[in-house]
């Protein structure tokens, strides 16, 4: 471990070294800002970088520490946030031109929590526009590139966060996941990503895409780092009516627990399809072997409605999005079209100018699915199938404590490879979507590299509020299968 560059430290190491005064927050923050200055022009993981604000925050942390006070477990540690979390006084775009000038008057619950824990905010991460995408190619601020291969996409929608973490432009970040947007980019960038149980992390101030599916969660380089960060951001919040008031367990401790006796379910529907890359299948099988070698038992389970999840999701999510995105009308904030003669023309042109193609497509599908005469046939039907999908998981968790699957069917694909065909792009989320429909937690942990040296992730799923089981299983896989967590980039 000699001479590991500071930016490659884990989140927990960085926090400890600040606490023990081995390094100041100013020095650490300066090193990360220098790293961002060198790499971000190539990778474009940040929409906004905050050098002055971060330096001032770091100096304040150092001063407080000199007087003997620490803000919290992340005192002085530089982090980034997906640009979907409102940050007071820091432009928040959600990856969209329609919010290119939006200056939120308040902090999202997640932003408030990481700042209260002492974190220094380095900047805001790039993302697919309004989190609608699987490649970060729909961003209104340019595509993010995969640090492992700059000709490839980082996944999405939290592609900026996953790329920033895997290129060591921050120690960790917080993303959001509506149908796989934390887990899929984590898998494609070789880092750890967690989608908590719906209701575990407050959605207050997190710009809404599909309200019944959206959930914020950590992206980090190790399982213990992700566990520690989830403990910071989880918890009840009266400002989010779907926030659930249950205690936050010690996730970090859970990540070191043994897996002896753990029942690992393998959903047969996730391994049978033709779209699964053989290298991904082999890597996930190695992850299973790692768990079995440590005393877990494997059981086959069935989730019979899996093949209906994509259709269900692409009706439910756009329907909710079409309603949530009605607020972008050029009246109170954001872009407004010039020179309209009347109100409706102003709104229609503002939205035409401000939204990109994918967002328009989803607003159109959602509006269609909710419109008079089609509601029952599309949205109503999808909500019923959602009940069947939830039932599949409830049954599977009678036989298994945790499910193990691939996170994504293939390693990272090339820029532009799937932009022409929406359905092909949507299929890259086929293994992650059912989890959001059921509201259960999911985690992606690196479990190998392809022949081309691209990262592969294994997905773990557990029952509602059983994140501890995910962390235990992921920790066991991580300790058994060492995979480099910082992309081999020359800076």
């Amino acid at each position: 471990m000699a001479n590991v560059p500071v930016h490659e430290w884990t989140l927990l190491e960085a926090a400890r070294k600040i606490r023990e005064k081995e390094i100041s927050s100013r020095e650490l923050t300066g090193a990360l800002l220098a790293r961002i200055g060198a790499l971000n022009p190539k990778i474009n993981a940040y929409i906004t970088v905050l050098p002055e604000r971060a330096a001032a925050q770091a100096a304040a942390c150092d001063e407080e520490q000199a007087k003997g006070s620490l803000r919290g477990p992340l005192h002085g540690v530089p982090l980034g946030l997906k640009d979907i979390f409102c940050t007071r006084g820091v432009r928040t775009t959600c990856g969209s031109r329609i919010l290119h000038n939006f200056d939120p008057p308040y902090d999202a619950a997640v932003a408030g929590k990481v700042l209260a824990a002492g974190a220094v905010l380095l900047g805001k991460h790039n993302m697919d526009e309004f989190a609608m995408g699987s490649s970060t190619e729909t961003s209104g601020f340019g595509v993010t590139r995969n640090p492992w291969d700059l000709s490839r996409i980082p996944g999405g929608s939290s592609g900026g966060t996953a790329a920033a973490v895997s290129s060591a432009m921050c120690f960790a970040g917080v993303g959001t996941d509506t149908g796989g947007s934390i887990r899929q980019p984590a898998s494609l960038c070789g880092v750890v990503g967690v989608k908590p149980t719906y209701g575990r992390v407050s959605r207050y101030g997190m710009i809404a895409f599909a309200s019944s599916l959206d959930q914020g969660g950590p992206i980090a380089r190790t399982v213990p780092d992700a566990a520690a960060l989830l403990s910071v951001i989880a918890g009840y919040d009266r400002r989010d009516s779907t926030s659930v008031d249950v205690p936050v367990p010690d996730y970090l401790a859970a990540s070191g627990k043994p897996v002896k006796g753990l029942r690992v379910g393998l959903p047969k529907e996730y391994f049978g399809g033709g779209g699964l890359d053989p290298a991904v299948k082999a890597a996930v099988e190695r992850a299973l072997k790692a768990l079995v070698d440590q005393g877990a038992t494997a059981v086959e389970v069935s989730l019979p409605h899996t093949s209906f999840a994509l259709s269900t999701y692409y009706l439910v999510a756009p329907a909710e999005a079409s309603s949530n995105l009605a607020r972008y009308d050029g009246v109170r904030y954001g872009h407004r079209a010039e020179g309209a003669a009347g109100l409706i023309e102003m709104m229609s042109r503002t939205r035409a100018e401000g939204f990109g193609d994918e967002v328009k497509r989803r607003i159109m599908i959602g509006t269609y699915a909710l419109s008079a005469g089609y509601y029952e046939a599309f949205y109503g039907k999808a909500q019923k199938v959602r009940t069947l999908i939830r039932g599949d998981f409830a049954k599977a968790f009678e036989a298994a404590d945790v499910l193990l699957t691939p996170t994504a069917p293939t390693p990272a694909f090339r820029l532009g490879e799937k932009t022409d065909d929406p359905l092909t792009m949507y299929l890259s989320d086929i293994f992650t979507i059912p989890c959001n429909l059921a509201g259960i937690p999911g985690l992606s942990v690196p479990c190998g590299l392809s022949a081309d040296g691209l990262p592969i992730g294994a997905q773990l799923l557990s029952d509602h509020f059983r994140e501890e089981t995910l962390f235990a299983a992921a920790g066991a896989i991580e300790r058994a299968i060492p995979v480099p967590r910082v992309a081999p980039l020359e800076g």
Partner: protein
Amino acid sequence: MTITREEVLHVARLARLALSDAEADRLREQLGRLLDYMKQLDRLDTRGVVPTSHAVEMGTPFREDVVIPFGDREAILSNAPDRQGDFFRVPRIIED
């Protein structure tokens, strides 16, 4: 499933989206293909199935009906594309 150009334009009006001719044509074709795919749900018998609107069931939470002032009116109004004093200004509502 065939979607007509009129349907596309109707939905776009409901969604307050101005579309170019090329966008309307493209969306007509793409929506038709996506909805075709989604029609697979009709293969499932969902009679008697209760729809899910939220994944974690917890009922409707109640709270005291108290006013919590935000306190920073200027931070909100300073985002306005067009403002007049403490008001958001918009183009005329009744169009000719």
